[in-house]
């Protein structure tokens, strides 16, 4: 699944570590999600959406 996480993070000038701390996950998790290596669970997807104040489908896109 594609996502806009890297762009959204860059718009806020956050590093992967910054985003990881805000989501309370490891930096490796953020990297894996950003690169499309791992699709987050629904609860984590909601946390990401809440953090960016967006809907899930605005961040995660169908292939």
């Amino acid at each position: 699944m594609k996502n806009r996480l890297k762009v959204l993070r860059a718009e806020r000038d956050w590093s992967q570590q910054d985003l990881a701390e805000r989501l309370e996950v490891s930096r490796q998790s953020v990297n894996a999600i950003e690169t499309g290596k791992y699709d987050p669970s629904l609860p984590l997807a909601f946390r990401i959406a809440d953090l960016f104040d967006m809907r899930i489908e605005e961040i995660f896109l169908r292939d």
Binding site: Q16, V25, Q28, V30, A32, T35, Y38
Partner: protein, 206 residues
């Protein structure tokens, strides 16, 4: 952290965990070779095995630092690494006690059963450690990563065990004790982690 302290930390555990793992494997292989040649054997091997096992301490430290540098060291991972180290040391201790009792007391009956069971007892802690990690790990990606690597280890055990079992049944290879399942699983776990790390690096480049 002061620069000097940081440098010391890096110097000590900045070495790749693989370096310590290779040193440990080489030491164990050397001991096995000496036993094969009759230079060591039984309880005489124990001090060497114990010394080789101590290499797991810097290996664990290096693994912790490597995971921290990769942004993958959760508190659950740290506890898992510490418990695995305790298990390894406990295993060698129990094995040493069992072999010493067998060689000096030549027990029979219940005591023989007891010392034969003793080296397997730490496996209860080992299995508990695996289960606790899955329960305690709050980072879903790290949990996915570790369970995937463990499944690769399991796959290797099943494949190697079945293959060797049939080769043994048909008399083309020698007998191998069943306790080899854990070392084979650990090799598979390590391979699984390497495969996943490689996939992450590839994904990071795209």
């Amino acid at each position: 952290m002061p620069q000097t302290a940081a440098k010391i930390e890096t110097d000590f555990a900045g070495r790749q965990p693989a370096v310590w793992a290779i040193a440990f494997a080489a030491a164990m292989a050397a001991i096995a070779y000496c036993e094969h040649r009759g230079l060591l054997g039984g309880w005489r091997s124990l001090p060497f095995v114990a010394a080789a096992t101590l290499l797991l301490v810097p290996l664990t430290k290096a693994a912790n630092n490597r995971q921290a540098a990769a942004g993958a060291l959760s508190s659950a991972t740290r506890r898992y690494n510490r418990r695995m180290l305790i298990w390894s040391l406990g295993y060698v201790l129990c094995l040493g006690i069992a072999m010493t009792v067998r060689n000096y007391l030549h027990p029979q009956g219940a005591l023989l059963w007891g010392i034969a069971f003793l080296p397997s007892a730490p496996m209860i802690f080992f299995v508990w450690t695996l289960a606790r990690y899955v329960v305690e790990e709050e980072d879903e990606y790290l949990r996915y990563r570790q369970t995937s690597a463990a499944l690769i280890g399991l796959a290797l055990v099943l494949l190697a065990g079945t293959l060797w079992g049939f080769l043994e049944t048909f008399g083309v290879v020698p007998h191998v004790p069943a306790w080899w399942v854990v070392p084979v699983w650990a090799i598979g776990l390590g391979l699984g982690q390497m495969i996943m790390a490689s996939a992450e690096r590839r994904a990071g480049r795209t």
